[in-house]
């Protein structure tokens, strides 16, 4: 059940769902900032403390301060300050398990777009920043996780521009034929309403789980292509109090990232949007029962798990 005290934004929802996918002892290759990096950081704090991550600029396994201090940077207390080429060599050589990225459009084979909307490359309807490091990450990491909002205009049969590769045309060996490393490819798409994977044979996107606050029907209505649906469809739990507490008090207390400068979903300042869409403010009472330390948080979580 959704706790009456808890309300959350879509960005927080994305971040928390993403965090739950994080695995112990794995390496994650990300860009600094935004829900993908928040998801990795939250996952590292709550579920997989020994995961390591590298940033596209060359930072390897940083330990930034939480809560952030004035002088905090994404590369604080890293094990290495390498450079852009070096971490790409590492990814190409197979050291990077997961890419975690966001996109403005994705198709049913997991190809995604961060470059432009429109059909004429030199005269786009709207130009975006470009690939950045997304193409290399989605090409060379073993698995790619996308973190993005579920919307009809984003989940499309054909993206306007393939910035980064999914399974390309979906045919067996398509990535290898394009010169990409073998056995790599898209793995999960985390959205605010559902979790997706890919069918191993057809490489088509597949609904794996649907939020308990919505329904499969409503999820499908938010997509412009029809995905496969897993036989054992799971239910997504909403963000837990612990996740939100960790996110709001430790990782981003100033809401620099959670507010999401480009988010469509920012509620009036200090507010959050409830799953139903109604804006609300987190009840102060919800903080009362918060753990005093990270250790206590982990212990409590372990107890919670045993209890259920």
């Amino acid at each position: 059940m959704i706790d009456d005290h808890i309300s959350f934004t879509e960005t927080e929802q994305l971040t928390c769902q993403g965090a739950r996918l994080m695995e112990r002892g794995r390496s994650y290759f990300i860009a600094a900032g935004g829900p993908p990096s928040l998801a990795v950081v939250l996952g590292k704090r709550l579920y997989a403390p020994d995961l390591v991550y590298a940033l596209g600029d060359g930072t390897i396994d940083p330990q930034p301060d939480f809560p952030p201090r004035k002088e905090s940077t994404p590369y604080t207390r890293a094990t290495a300050w390498a450079d852009l080429n070096t971490v790409r060599f590492h990814a190409t050589a197979g050291y990077m398990d997961y890419a975690v990225l966001e996109a403005i459009q994705v198709d049913q084979y997991g190809n995604f777009n961060t470059s432009m909307r429109g059909t004429d490359y030199q005269r786009p309807r709207r130009r975006f920043g470009g690939a950045g490091g997304a193409n290399e990450l989605a090409s060379c990491c073993w698995r790619t996780i996308l973190v993005m909002d579920l919307e009809k205009r984003r989940f499309v049969p054909k993206v306007d521009f393939i910035t980064s590769p999914g399974y390309l045309d979906g045919s067996p060996g398509a990535r290898e034929r394009a010169g990409l490393p073998a056995d790599t490819g898209p793995w999960r798409v985390v959205t605010d309403d559902a979790l997706f994977g890919y069918d191993e044979e057809s490489h088509r996107m597949e609904v794996l789980a649907v939020g308990q606050w919505t329904s499969l029907e409503r999820v499908l209505q938010k997509m412009s292509f029809e995905p496969l649906v897993a036989k054992d469809l799971k239910v997504l739990e909403p963000p837990s109090l612990l996740e939100l507490w960790c996110l709001r008090t430790e990782i981003d207390p100033e809401r620099v990232q959670l507010a999401g400068l480009e988010s469509d979903f920012v509620a009036p300042q200090g507010g959050w949007i409830r799953p139903g869409g109604q804006a609300g403010v987190m009840d102060e009472a919800a903080y009362v029962d918060m753990p005093a330390s990270y250790q206590e948080l982990l212990e409590r979580r372990a107890r919670e798990k045993k209890g259920t």
């Binding site: 940033l55 596209g56 600029d57 060359g58 930072t59 004035k70 002088e71 940077t73 590369y75 890293a78 300050w81 390498a82 450079d83 852009l84 080429n85 790409r88 190409t92 190809n111 470059s115 490359y121 030199q122 005269r123 786009p124 709207r126 130009r127 975006f128 920043g129 470009g130 690939a131 950045g132 490091g133 997304a134 193409n135 290399e136 090409s139 060379c140 521009f161 393939i162 910035t163 980064s164 590769p165 390309l168 398509a174 990535r175 290898e176 034929r177 394009a178 010169g179 990409l180 490393p181 100033e254 620099v256």
Partner: protein, 336 residues
């Protein structure tokens, strides 16, 4: 026996990777001895940045970039430049608005109305490579070879709009992407410390500073601090770029402003936000006038920043010049 066979080619434009031409240029133009190269930003840009040339720079106006030199390029109203943005930032809309840049090799750049409008009017042409593709091209240039194989961009529209080729690898018979080397006319690299000959040290992660310097015909080093040559020899393991690549050494304290320089200062996000707002409100011309054209140099610009009235503390997380300093010197920041 498998022969190298081209399977697909991107349509993007690129300068022919003339490795031997580059070698000859280096043979004929770069002094081998330790020669003094200290000069003001204005002189460096006058001498080494020509209209229509290819300008590579490392970092952006957000992080570690050669902002002082870029502003000087704008001030001198250079035209028809082709730049690499791998990744770039707010300097791209600024350079485009100022009429300096007509072509961008895109890794990443700050989008916005200025770029959108320039594209719509056909004043700006783009070629795609991704950050990795661009830095591999500089790596190839730095190695003095015409191309490098790499295991990304294949199969995508980035490939289609790049100058890359998909070939059958003659060793394994598998398909692989090749990118052409790039030999820029000039590279701009902002560093923490350099001596007057151009031996340079950079601290902090990212991006591809030595590859860009080593692949370029001319190199302008701008530096936070000038240090003595014997200091370079005391810790040779810290030298990122050796002197013989440098053509100019410009002393540029706060030379990455409004960007962040690792260890020394945070970015001035007020200035960056002002620039974004200027872009979106169609007043980027006024921004240029205020911060570039109406001042003779970056020293004057920074003095102007210092005299700016303090802003409301309402916008959390934003810092000003006085507030953004992390350390007063590289020694304080890194113990070096």
């Amino acid at each position: 026996m498998v022969s190298l066979q081209v399977i697909a080619s991107g349509q993007g434009e690129y300068l022919p990777p003339d490795a031997d031409g580059f070698r000859r240029f280096i043979r004929d133009n770069k002094p081998r001895g330790q020669v003094e190269k200290l000069m003001p930003a204005a002189e460096a840009v006058q001498r080494f940045v020509q209209d229509g040339c290819y300008v590579a720079y490392d970092g952006s106006m957000g992080y570690k970039g050669p902002s002082t030199i870029l502003r000087e390029i704008i001030r001198q109203r250079k035209q028809g430049l082709w730049v690499g943005a791998g990744p770039g930032g707010l300097e791209i809309p600024l350079l485009v608005a100022a009429g300096c840049v007509t072509r961008v090799d895109v890794g990443w750049m700050n989008p916005g109305p200025t770029i959108q409008q320039a594209l719509n009017e056909g004043r700006l042409k783009l070629v795609e490579w991704g950050n990795g593709g661009l830095s591999y091209r500089h790596l190839a240039g730095a190695m003095g070879v015409p191309f490098l194989p790499m295991r990304f961009i294949g199969g995508t529209d980035i490939f289609e709009h790049s100058g890359a080729k998909l070939v059958k690898d003659p060793f394994t018979g598998e398909n692989i992407v090749l990118v052409p080397a790039i030999y820029p006319d000039v590279a701009l690299i902002h560093v923490h410390q350099a001596d007057r000959f151009g031996n340079a040290r950079i601290f902090g992660p990212g991006y591809a500073p030595w590859e860009r310097a080593a692949s370029a015909k001319r190199v302008i080093i701008s530096t936070e601090e000038i240090i003595e040559p014997q200091e370079i020899r005391r810790r040779p393991y810290l030298t990122t770029i050796p002197y013989y690549m440098a053509d100019a050494v410009v002393h540029a304290p706060l030379g990455a402003y409004p960007g962040h320089m690792p260890g020394l200062y945070l970015g001035d996000r007020y200035h960056s936000v002002d620039l974004v707002e200027a872009d979106y409100s169609g007043t980027i011309g006024e921004f240029l006038e205020k911060w570039v054209y109406s001042v003779a140099s970056d020293e004057e610009m920074l003095e102007k920043v210092r005299q700016e009235p303090p802003r409301e503390a309402a916008v959390r997380g934003l810092s000003r010049l006085t507030d953004m300093m992390l350390a007063s010197s590289v020694k304080e920041a890194f113990g070096i």
